[in-house]
């Protein structure tokens, strides 16, 4: 079933309902009553819904949950949580009761603090979450969709539904080797997450405690990792100086593929990898080299596109607000990995081993939950640690 909901727009003179009014209108989810939350979600709820929990304690619980395999499939988010690079804006029932202008001001402060932290590389991802048992147990539907749009309006001054919304993040790059300092900026994807997803077909967008938006930018994260590594390795700094910026971050392709692979292993996946197209390789790339870069597990799949029953970049997809737990019968979409690289990119080196393999250490990769085959492809399978050999 495909749902099409009307949303508030300036062309209509509708009364804008507040977050509080929208929360009051939510109804308990009958499906949830028969299908309890997964144990790991319930465990997190013990802290999130404890009236004595501070927001720091709630954020720690969420961070731990995000960083625990296999609670959610996004390896970028897992890594960011592992590194403490996630910034949380927790909106609780006190905030909801204090009104939309209060919530708008709170989000504004957190957004500035997040971007300020990201400017110097200390922060990366951002989660705006409304934590409330009532919201977590609410039925997906038009009221919850209106709540999503209202929260988005308070965050970005825009409430577009079924569109791809992006925020913007900056990173200050230090001067080195005669290159001047610069500030770079990236768009940051905005994605809806909710406790409603737990057990439903869009499970890869579940989050304990309520609902909200998650923001992350692979490009910003990759460049921040590179800059951190360069600070510690003068040789790498020289290599990086001779390498075009767009090639410094290609390690993210296998990571993105691994995320989709993990997400596809549920009983009702929303996305899946597709077998690779035969015989198509950019000039100069051999099958052997490609297999080395992607690893055994990923090399049988396409690094150019994947398929999904929703577009992973859409911020507030209508499909998430259909109460049916099964996947809607819509045509599968063809989705691209090529935002991370060009199909005709002649240089797969920087995607795998190349310059950026040395940017990350094994712990970084492990934190992202990469498979042994990907670790091998990155030359990290024999990595020695003080504790021993993997």
């Amino acid at each position: 079933m495909s749902l099409v909901f009307q949303f508030l727009s300036w062309e209509r003179n509708s009364k804008v309902l507040s977050i509080r009014e929208l929360v009051d209108a939510l109804r308990p989810d009958p499906w949830r009553q028969a299908n309890p939350f997964a144990a790991e979600v319930d465990d997190c709820h013990q802290i999130l819904f404890d009236p004595s929990s501070s927001r720091v304690r709630q954020a720690d619980a969420l961070s731990t949950w995000l960083n625990t395999k296999p609670h959610q499939p996004c390896l970028f988010a897992r890594h960011a949580a592992n590194k403490g690079w996630l910034s949380f804006c927790i909106i609780n029932e006190n905030d909801i009761a204090r009104g939309d202008e209060h919530i708008r001001a709170v989000i504004r402060d957190h957004r500035v603090a997040w971007k300020d932290g990201a400017l110097d590389g200390g922060q990366h991802g951002f989660l705006i979450l409304m934590i409330s048992e009532r919201i977590a147990r609410a039925e997906p539907g038009p009221d919850l969709l209106a709540l999503a749009q209202r929260l988005c309006q308070l965050y970005l001054s825009d409430d577009s539904q079924d569109e791809m919304l992006y925020d913007r993040l900056f990173l200050r790059i230090k001067p080195r080797d005669g290159q001047p300092a610069e500030i770079r900026k990236w768009t940051v994807g905005v994605n809806w997450f909710g406790a409603q997803a737990d057990g439903r077909w869009w499970q890869d967008h579940r989050i304990p405690g309520g609902v909200g938006f998650s923001m992350n930018s692979v490009g910003h994260m990759a460049r921040r990792l590179l800059e951190g590594a360069i600070d510690e390795d003068p040789d790498l700094a020289r290599k990086a100086a001779a390498t075009p910026a767009e090639k410094l971050v290609k390690w993210a392709v296998p990571l993105a593929m691994s995320t989709i692979l993990t997400a596809s292993k549920g009983s009702m996946p929303g996305t899946r990898l597709v077998p690779r197209e035969e015989g198509i390789l950019p000039d100069g790339l051999t099958e052997q080299r490609r297999a080395e870069v992607l690893g055994r597990m990923l090399s049988e799949y396409s690094e150019n596109h994947y398929r999904g029953w929703y577009h992973t970049d859409v911020s507030i997809p209508s499909e998430y607000f259909d109460p049916a737990p099964e996947r809607p019968e819509v045509e599968e979409k063809r989705l691209l990995f090529t935002y991370l690289h060009r199909r005709d990119d002649e240089d797969y080196e920087s995607m795998g081993l190349g310059e950026t393999a040395t940017v990350l250490d094994r712990q970084d990769y492990e934190g992202m939950g990469l498979s042994e085959s990907v670790l091998e492809a990155h030359g990290l399978s024999d990595f020695d640690t003080p504790e021993g050999v993997y």
């Binding site: 006190n94 400017l119 308070l154 490009g219 690289h341």
Partner: protein, 435 residues
């Protein structure tokens, strides 16, 4: 867009570079309109950004200065956040706090795209591919995040907010038992529904309920809940010009909750200046939660019963279950008046410890666990105390007289807790009443 003075919160710390100013001047004189700003932005976004954060400077032509003021104003709109509404007359309103700007409907899409871009927001149907990132400027960062001091202030507010432990309010087990043991239904439902709502979002919080004793640091949480509730727990329209007040002791134990008349300040109870010692300044940075109400439901109304709250050092009594508001008569007595007829149908006798210590010898004979404490005796002593202080007026005497008459009619006596308290025993939930 109309020309107005730049708001005060625009902190300028990045002055416009001479090259950027030169580029602006080369674009030629133009009126301070949104359309002009959009033209400047389209030709060279960096010129616009520097103009918005730094201004054109006092030596530049007047039109450039005015354009800079408007650019700074747009920056405030973008940073604060805005709503877009149609006003039905061919105009679209951009509303940001108290700032309201109007643009023609035919220009709306273009204006919104401009504001979105300034806000760092991209909206579309195709994924954005900028994995390598793009170069940005200091002016763009300052435009988006504010100056270093703005950012530091935001960071500090976030840290304070994140680390703050919630203030947990609760009901003592003995008061919970008393509430369920015959208080009017609307009182119980007010606690269940109105009190949590007010506590989550008070209009004001006061401290210092009494001049001495353990309530010296007690608090009053005031607010305006969405509804009132009847004796069956149904929502009914909230009374006009009333605020709901929840009283706690210094340890956060709730002992009383009432509708009271609103004063001149919206959301503030009347007479708050004389009733409370001070307003709690930092309450906006705190979260308040009311816990421990699970399973609480009203019992059958008992009009011959009065309830002692040790936490509140007071005795409650109702001769009727008609919904009431509270009216403070003096420091010893608050009366409950019905909303419709304003008739006094109950009371809260306060400062029980003080009153009883005055009466200790005389009252001993009245305090029997079997017969209950004579609330009339407490009321009488309260009257004497106020008379001795010269604080009684004719109207007050009439209230005391009427209340005493109702007490005698109903034969109200206090629960066993008051007896235990006066005899140095441990106050506990009254099992007889609960059962």
């Amino acid at each position: 867009m109309s020309k107005k003075q730049a708001p005060e919160d625009v902190v300028v710390d990045v002055s416009m570079k001479p090259e950027a100013l030169q580029k602006l001047l080369e674009q030629g004189e133009r009126p301070a309109t949104l359309h002009s700003l959009m033209e400047v932005y389209q030709v060279d976004p960096e010129v616009y950004l520097q103009l918005a954060v730094g201004g054109a400077g006092p030596d530049s032509p007047r039109w450039a200065q005015e354009l800079g003021e408007l650019a700074a104003r747009v920056r405030v709109i973008v940073r604060r956040g805005y709503e877009v509404q149609s006003n039905g007359n061919g105009k679209v309103k951009v509303v940001s706090g108290e700032i309201v700007e109007q643009v023609a409907k035919k220009e709306a899409e273009e204006v919104l795209a401009f504001l979105r871009d300034l806000n760092g927001v991209t909206v579309g149907r195709e994924p954005v591919r900028d994995f390598a990132g793009r170069q940005a400027s200091e002016a763009e960062v300052v435009f988006a995040l504010g100056t270093a001091s703005d950012r530091e202030a935001a960071r500090r507010r976030v840290e304070t907010r994140m680390a703050a432990d919630p203030v947990l309010l609760r009901l003592s087990s003995e008061d919970k038992a008393a509430v369920a043991a015959g208080m009017p239904g609307y009182v119980v439902y007010g606690l269940l529904y109105c009190a949590p709502e007010v506590i989550r979002a008070p209009t004001v919080v006061f401290e210092g309920l009494r001049g001495e004793g353990r309530l010296k640091r007690g608090r009053a949480y005031c607010g305006v809940p969405k509804n009132a509730y009847d004796n069956d727990g149904n929502p009914v329209p909230r009374p006009d010009k009333m605020v709901y007040v929840i009283y706690t002791d210094a340890e956060g134990y709730v002992f009383d909750w009432d509708w009271v008349r609103e004063g001149e300040k919206p959301g503030f109870p009347c007479g708050y200046e004389e009733r409370f010692a001070r307003e709690v300044e930092a309450w906006r940075q705190q979260d308040f939660r009311l816990a421990g109400l699970d399973g609480l439901r009203p019992g059958e109304f008992r009009k011959g019963q009065a309830w002692f709250s040790q936490r509140g050092d007071c005795v409650f009594w109702y001769s009727s279950d008609s919904p009431t508001f509270a009216e403070r008569l003096n420091e010893d007595l608050t009366v409950f008046r019905t909303f419709d007829t304003q008739e006094v149908v109950g009371s809260k006798c306060k400062n029980i410890t003080r009153i009883v210590s005055d009466l200790q010898n005389a009252v001993a004979a009245l305090l029997s666990p079997r017969e209950g404490t004579d609330v009339g005796a407490l009321l009488a002593r309260s009257l004497i105390r106020q008379a001795e202080k010269g604080a009684l007026e004719e109207e007050d005497l009439q209230v005391y007289h009427g209340l005493y008459g109702r007490l005698r009619q109903s034969g109200a006596s206090a629960d066993r807790n008051l007896y235990l308290y006066l005899h140095g025993g441990q106050v506990e939930p009254d099992r007889e009443l609960v059962n």
